[in-house]
Homo-oligomer: 337 residues x 2
């Protein structure tokens, strides 16, 4: 497949780097400041005058020289001289939307999805916004398009949650789990070391596990968006963030963790989708139980009608990990007519 | 898809029962003593004179009346009056091979696979024999056929192991886990209750968790077959049971489990595929660690190049659970030309 990758953060960069290993080629890369598009003469500095694209003997476009594009981004801060919009006009099969998640109207991600589907192209999302905030519109656009929309990377990073749900063909009745690695790291450390929230948060920021502004993770918003996406998939409905009942961990006293430990339990930030409701909040779980994953791990439990309970755990974030989910989605797409 | 189901044990029966929920129809069912085939006039007793098939107003074949077929099996011991071979000649899209696993030449399962592929039909296996003992031949037949062979149900029951490996597109470097629920039940009980092997085995037999002849499970053969299949998939090679290093749990003294417990560890029958070798045997694992699943649960850990370690646990056996994996495979098959 020929990929156009929007967003050159950790995930977008890894998709660009790993696409070749999965047998795909990158024909366009863009962030908010510029784009490199195969064959557009954007002067990527590889000296072949084809604008970053390698060209076969017969002149057929073989895609961008991704190493040159990423090197340019590293050195100059921009991936190419073209207008970012040029990537959306490129001759791609799959638009990989890996720009930052935005809430409310989910723009500009939503418009990127719309433009790709209107051109009958596939879309693979790492950006949670469009499928968390405007799911019904995305599905409606997809219904009128030859393209398909997949978004495994939006829930649980490397963990194959959505593909497992799809394979089970309507048999999954509920889902719950640990869906934010930053919050889980903080809770694990607080419980294991008896340290306070502020102390552990500062430590997580030093380690790069928490952002300078950790609100999105510690207030439960990120986990809630993932649960909203799960609810949309499980119930084929139009849940939004506003429909979720969300409580974070910022106000959790260390004493609560101590009391839990004395009782053989611990506290995790658990997201849950069941019986039509979406809830995220700190919950007591057995200390050595399946849900008590440690560090930045994520886990998802799926309840099924015929296959019992499935537990899937692994790395819920990270560039290469999340890119693996993006590229697995690309591999599942049907060929375009 | 139109399914022909061979084998009417726990898995085959559940496939027949659940196929409709997944949007498929059953056009033939056979065990070693007889067959029911849609439209063959086998006198299934439903009184419509069409041999067990329901017929549309326009006369198009709508598949077998599966409730009538299973009721007949229950009452008379046979699914139908037709020769078992008739199911292989039926007008199906997918042959579901759920006859008992046999070792060595893997017959009659292997011949069933061959005949379906020679007719350019798909094959979904619950029978481990053909892909554990004659993998290269199966792949060679598949290469010359329009049909595709899938076998998720052969490894870990309801757990989506092989589809996850396929989605990761060559990024899985090693696999290990608990792949036999009977052995795991016995080890869990021995450790938790301080009971001896013979006592717990008898208990497991009473509960239906262990067979009257438990050899296949407790000697490690079943887990080894699953690991051989994993090795064939991971290395695209021709491993057979004879290539696996296998040790069971029948000779494990209770004192070994006691010593492990004193050290914060326990013993599990672990299968491992790594660096070209296949090994199954009792191993020390952390008592509350990921691999120490309890009861009849199975777990598989996959090591990947870019996505870290994935853990997937759930029910590794059981009719409906394993049938879910069979039907997920059916859903993944491409349409036949």
């Amino acid at each position: 497949m020929r990929l156009a990758v929007l967003g050159v953060g950790a995930v977008g960069t890894s998709v660009v780097e790993l696409a070749g290993e999965y047998g795909h080629e990158v024909v366009a890369v863009a962030d908010s400041t510029g784009a490199a598009v195969a064959g557009d003469g954007d002067g990527d500095g590889d000296g072949d005058g084809d604008g970053g694209a390698s060209v076969d003997d017969d002149g057929a476009d073989r895609g961008l020289d991704v190493a040159a594009v990423l090197e340019r981004k590293e050195e100059t801060g921009v991936v190419g001289e073209s207008d970012p919009d040029a990537a959306l006009e490129a001759d791609y099969d799959v638009l990989v939307e890996a720009t930052p998640t935005t809430l409310g109207d989910a723009e500009p991600g939503f418009s990127h999805v719309r433009r790709a589907l209107e051109r009958d192209r596939h879309v693979v999302l790492a950006n949670k916004g469009p499928v968390a905030e405007r799911y019904e519109e995305v599905r409606s656009l997809e219904a009128g398009s030859q393209g398909t929309v997949l978004f495994e990377a939006t829930v649980g990073g490397a963990i194959p949650v959505l593909s497992t749900i799809a394979d089970l063909n309507g048999q999954v009745t509920a889902a719950r789990g640990v869906l934010n690695g930053t919050a889980n790291f903080i809770l694990s450390r607080m419980a294991a070391e008896g340290l306070g929230y502020e102390h552990v948060l500062a430590e997580a920021q030093d380690l790069g596990v928490a952002e300078a502004d950790p609100t999105f993770d510690v207030e439960g918003t990120d986990a809630a968006l993932k649960c909203v996406i799960l609810a949309n998939v499980l119930y084929d409905d139009a849940y939004r963030l506003a429909d979720a009942e969300v409580e974070g961990i910022a106000d959790l006293p260390g004493s609560a963790l101590e009391l839990a430990t004395e009782d053989g339990r611990t506290i995790r930030l658990i997201g849950e989708v069941a019986e039509g409701t979406v809830r995220v909040g700190p919950r007591l779980v057995p200390e050595n139980g399946t849900l008590a994953v440690t560090g930045t791990l994520n886990i998802v439990q799926l309840e099924t009608t015929h296959a019992g309970r499935l537990n899937i755990s692994g790395r819920g974030a990270g560039g290469p990990e999340t890119a693996s989910a993006v590229l697995a989605d690309v591999g599942r797409l049907p060929p375009l007519e």
